[in-house]
């Protein structure tokens, strides 16, 4: 008898546990529980407190370059490729943004992300949207998804040689990829983007290099990347959307459809995408849109072609192209190199100040 009571207790406990697990499971599928929503509300505030003391720097030298992110994992973080498919993370569905104050900020962040021109115009100095390089609203694996980036910060970045929090990382995107002015710390644009990234990362492990983070790192190509071959790849596979002049296209309502890849309205010489290896990884995984069929060699070649075109100056420009190249540009950058008789960067339009084209 004394043996049976514990057995019965164990059996009943198991049944109850199973019931609870089932109940929680079904609730998860329908909508976030009040507890989840509350956690989601509280956490950004808590993080905000911790970032108050973070180094404030106007000279944010963060590239949009996920490849270098991957070479700077947090101590103890999983190495790229170490995670199995079972570790694949999926962000919450679009429809699951909570209907409360936090959810409103998440929506604001998503709107800024997908129509940066419209919702964060004062910080943008070109014709790009966040979602141009972070496809599917920052959700797509191998397209620098926000859910994989969020929990990898704060992190030390070799590019600016200090520990960056997530807010500073986003400021870097505005300064370089968006060729603009970074929103100041605490600005609603920054808070909204942080909220959106945080929400997308709901349930993601912290400080873990998730599969699909950043852009894939391609093996070195068989033949050195070629401008000439790249030009042909561009004409065959890219010009349809981005235009034969690389300046993109607008829709019939005047809105931006395909982004400019170089010139005064594209990313500047400090953006991660200006590095041939970063662009090659993005292109290989994502271009042409929905039909990513280029070979590694084609991706390297066309990246070399695109990143050998003039674009807005590096915001860290010292006054000398060769000095700036020496100080900030590594082996994968064409900045300061001579292509078709022209030193790239020499005729660059000033960064962050390009006037809007044909504004009313």
């Amino acid at each position: 008898m004394s043996n049976r009571i514990p057995l019965l207790t164990v059996a009943v406990s198991f049944a109850m546990l199973a019931a609870v697990i089932f109940w929680v499971g079904t609730r998860d599928q329908s909508a976030p529980t009040p507890a989840q929503a509350k956690t989601a509300n509280a956490a950004p505030a808590a993080r905000g407190d911790t970032t108050e003391s973070a180094t404030k720097s106007e000279d944010v030298a963060v590239s949009g370059n996920a490849a270098s992110e991957r070479s700077e994992p947090l101590p103890g973080a999983a190495q790229p490729g170490a995670a199995s498919a079972a570790d694949d993370f999926a962000p919450p569905a679009r429809s699951e943004i909570p209907d409360d104050e936090f959810g409103a900020m998440v929506r604001k962040g998503r709107d800024i992300f997908t129509d940066t021109q419209q919702h964060a115009d004062q910080f943008v100095g070109n014709d790009l949207q966040c979602a141009n390089c972070h496809l599917d609203e920052g959700r797509r694996p191998d397209s620098a998804p926000l859910w994989a980036a969020w929990a990898m910060y704060p992190a030390y970045r070799g590019k600016n040689k200090h520990v960056n929090d997530f807010a500073e990382r986003i400021q870097g995107c505005f300064r370089y990829s968006m060729n603009g002015t970074p929103p100041p710390r605490g600005d609603e644009v920054l808070v909204a983007l942080e909220s959106y990234a945080y929400w997308l990362a709901s349930g993601a492990p912290v400080a873990k290099n998730l599969p699909g983070r950043g852009y894939p790192e391609l093996e070195a190509p068989e033949q050195p990347p070629s401008f000439t071959r790249g030009k042909q790849v561009f004409a065959d596979h890219c010009a349809l959307c981005h235009g034969s002049d690389g300046q993109g296209q607008r829709a019939a309502d005047g809105s931006l459809a395909f982004p400019p890849l170089w010139g005064p309205r594209s990313y500047n010489w400090g953006a991660g995408m200006h590095r041939v290896n970063t662009a090659a990884g993005f292109i290989k995984a994502n271009m042409p849109l929905g039909a990513a069929t280029l070979s590694d060699q084609q991706a390297w070649d066309v990246a070399r072609f695109i990143d050998s075109q003039e674009r807005p100056q590096d915001p860290r420009f010292t006054g000398s192209v060769s000095e700036t190249a020496e100080q900030y540009h590594g082996e994968h950058s064409m900045y300061g190199q001579t292509v078709n008789g022209v030193v790239l960067g020499q005729d660059a339009p000033p960064s962050g100040t390009a006037a809007k084209v044909n504004q009313p």
Partner: protein
């Protein structure tokens, strides 16, 4: 004098029986050409606005290279269509090009025929149109066809306000190999990735959009 009159009437007669000698695109559009070419307007409307009830597409304001490629594909049979095939093959290459230019220059403003034909398209259509389904490598339709399908440049035609039956038919034609895949085979590749259940909702979504976009930004 009598000879002159005779010559003149001969000339008039010649012109009347040989309209292809100098039929303008506008003439062909509104009066047709000879026995084989019915007026385009009889199906596509007087202003190229299309006919929602019958499922005939709008032509007004679509890109000239796009329209020309379609006429060429009808003529060669690459795009299968029993009505358009004889018409397109009766036109010369130059005439096909001229017709494409003519319709590309008509304003989409007058094209209201399809609007409101499906006021309550299913949400699944909007989801696919506006967000795509990246798990299956399907980009949002609007990424190439513009917000609400207003069209982008010369190669990405407007979908907004096109008859739902027409749009549905085209997606099926790509899936069945009865229409060339378009530049870089993009549409054949996307149509092949769709589920059967995607087709109607996404066609209805675009059919319900306004064909004449409000110019939000005056950039170009």
């Amino acid at each position: 004098m009598a000879i002159r009159k005779c010559t003149l009437s001969a000339l008039v007669w010649l012109l009347s029986v040989s309209p292809w000698v100098q039929a303008s695109p506008s003439d062909i559009a509104n009066q047709g050409l000879g026995e084989n070419i019915a007026p385009c307007s009889s199906c596509h409307g007087a202003h190229g606005e299309g006919n929602a009830a019958a499922g005939f597409p709008r032509l007004a304001g679509l890109g000239a290279p796009y329209l020309e490629a379609q006429l060429d594909a009808f003529a060669s049979g690459a795009r299968e269509n029993a009505v358009m095939q004889p018409i397109a093959s009766a036109l010369s290459t130059d005439q096909r090009s001229a017709m494409a230019t003519y319709y590309s220059q008509l304003s989409a403003e007058g094209a209201q025929a399809s609007k409101g034909q499906s006021d309550n398209p299913p949400d699944t259509g909007a989801e696919l149109a506006e967000h795509g389904r990246w798990a299956n490598d399907i980009p949002a339709c609007v990424q190439c066809h513009g917000p609400a399908g207003v069209g982008v440049g010369e190669h990405f035609p407007a979908l907004a306000g096109q008859p739902a039956a027409y749009l549905e038919g085209q997606l099926r034609a790509w899936r069945n190999g009865k229409r060339p895949g378009g530049p870089m085979g993009l549409m054949a590749s996307i149509a092949a990735k769709l589920d059967e259940s995607d087709i109607k909702p996404v066609a209805q979504y675009f059919a319900a959009q306004s064909p004449a976009p409000a110019k939000g930004l005056d950039h170009e």
